[in-house]
Symmetry: C2
């Protein structure tokens, strides 16, 4: 049986269990600054529709922060989420 903490834990692993999203995460880590979804998509060759879907999954998992400024959406990693659900995963289960 799955408890409620695990629902979030699972969403985090699911979010990282896709090649496009793993690339987005790595890209954001290296950029180390907020960047627009469009720019990320262009750099990684992800269509805007598909990008929109992937950013949503990452956002819902809490792995990225997003800020809408006018037409553009700026995203950046949320290190606290990585820390809590990834870095400390093994120790905490």
């Amino acid at each position: 049986m799955m408890n409620t903490n695990n629902v979030k834990q699972l969403a985090v692993f699911k979010a990282l269990a896709d090649p496009a999203r793993l690339e987005i995460v790595e890209y954001l880590k290296h950029v180390d600054n907020e960047i627009s979804c469009g720019e990320v998509g262009k750099a990684l060759n992800i269509s805007k529709t598909s990008g929109s879907y992937h950013f949503k999954i990452l956002q819902e998992a809490g792995l990225i922060n997003a800020r809408k400024e006018a037409r553009e959406k700026y995203v950046s990693l949320n290190p606290e989420c990585f820390d809590k659900f990834i870095t400390n995963f093994y120790k905490n289960i």
Copy 2:
């Protein structure tokens, strides 16, 4: 584009991105000793066919060690894999 290290990284996240496998991993962590697949399946209510499939995914990702003794297959976690691909993930990307 996905590099070859990421193939393994992705397999590890995929392996953990399923409720049954997440439960298996937690169970193995708490048992903290090798245990047969059948016993795990019984405890977590996973059919033997489905269990066989999940243990294979975890094994291929390197997250568990498995040893066949006679009729039974004994499994345990492989902490080194968690350490390399989970605990150190954020720092290393």
